[in-house]
């Protein structure tokens, strides 16, 4: 039986330029997004067809999330947020196809995305607000003798944001795919054992089917959570000291 974590192994496809299966699926996700959206919006009909209304729904959904969290001026970050949402969502969904590689189950990928978000927050916040941006770390209504501790704790809390942002997505995808593989392995092992044990084989199969549904939910939910948190952090860059 294959090991449950074998699916996360990175294998080089073109060793010369370090093009791995991970790179392949990242390129694949981008191709699916770009190709799908171009195809869907090709006609630019006033009354949208099926594909076009899916694209419009996605756009409105992300725009609504961003507006709720960061206000109307947050819309200048819409290209970034929409790209992030579509990439994470598509990568998660591509990972759900059996045999496919899940890009977001690699912590370095999710961490790069999180660093991109936090880099945007810090650079934009510093450019727009200057030193006023550091007011983010100085909460109001704290006794003076406590202030040094609180500022350090707030600073570490801020640094922990990209870590938690990446950790959450990565851990969810990793754990879900391992659980799926383990239950799938149970089916094969029970069938292989034969006799009375083979009769029990459908039980983990039902569990795997149920887990599959849960995983689709998690894949969509985690993409949404990543987007919402991105919007909340961008709101900090737009309005620090709230």
């Amino acid at each position: 039986m294959a090991s449950p974590i074998e699916q996360f192994q990175i294998k080089p496809i073109i060793p010369v330029i370090n093009f791995t299966n991970s790179s392949l699926f990242m390129v694949g996700a981008v191709a699916v997004i770009v190709g799908g959206l171009m195809l869907a919006t090709r006609k630019r009909a006033i009354v949208p067809g099926r594909a076009q209304s899916v694209a419009e729904t996605l756009h409105d959904f992300v725009a609504g999330t961003l507006r709720d969290a960061a206000g109307e001026e947050g819309m200048k970050f819409f290209p970034l947020v929409f790209s992030l949402f579509m990439f994470v969502f598509t990568a998660n969904m591509l990972g759900m196809i059996p045999g496919f590689f899940t890009v977001t189950s690699q912590v370095i990928v999710t961490f790069s995305l999180a660093i991109l978000v936090m880099g945007t927050v810090v650079i934009y916040g510093l450019l727009k607000h200057g030193t006023h941006f550091f007011g983010l770390f100085v909460p109001s209504g704290v006794p003076v003798w406590l202030l040094p501790f609180i500022v350090v704790i707030e600073l570490i809390s801020f640094i922990s944001r990209p870590v938690s942002l990446s950790l959450r997505l990565f851990a969810n995808m990793l754990a879900g795919h391992i659980a799926l593989k383990v239950f799938g392995g149970f089916v094969a092992a029970l069938l292989g054992a034969g006799g009375a044990l083979a009769i029990l084989a459908p039980l983990p199969l039902f569990m795997a089917v149920a887990l599959m549904a849960l995983e689709f939910l998690v894949a969509a939910l985690q993409a949404y959570v990543f987007t919402v948190l991105t919007c909340i952090y961008l709101n900090d860059a737009l309005h620090p000291g709230h």
Binding site: S140, G141, I153, L155, I156, S164, A171, H242
Partner: protein, 124 residues
């Protein structure tokens, strides 16, 4: 419903005893009906939420544990950097991991909605 009768009392006119008895009786029946309605509603909402609560709780567990762990990890990273920059190993790591625990707890409380945003006072 209670407002107009209350205002009558405040105006100085004492409510008569028959009014009072009437009111208490009505309140009692209203209470009984409210209890019934809420009991029914909880029964209705509880039944389907039972099956859903597992995945919801799992999601929350993942979310909150990620918040806490990331605080400690970030504290460790900062401590390691401080040690390397100032050459005070291992004190930077020790102090910053402890502060990281505090930051993790803060993250946890914020994620759970027990501490509101960046404000520590109750003015908001």
């Amino acid at each position: 419903m209670a407002d107009p009768t209350k205002r009558n009392g405040e105006d100085g006119r004492e409510p008569t005893s028959s009014d009072d008895a009437n009111l208490t009786a009505r309140l009692k029946s209203l209470d009984a009906r409210l209890d019934q309605a809420t009991a029914q509603r909880t029964k209705i909402t509880e039944a389907p939420s039972r099956s859903k609560s597992d995945s919801k709780a799992l999601g929350q567990a993942f979310r909150l544990s990620a918040e806490f762990v990331s605080g400690v990890v970030a504290g460790g990273i900062v401590g390691w950097l401080v040690d390397h920059l100032f050459g005070i190993s291992p004190w930077g790591l020790i102090v910053c991991i402890i502060l990281g625990f505090c930051a993790g707890m803060l993250n946890l409380l914020r994620a759970a909605g027990l501490v509101k945003g960046a404000r520590y006072d109750e003015k908001r």
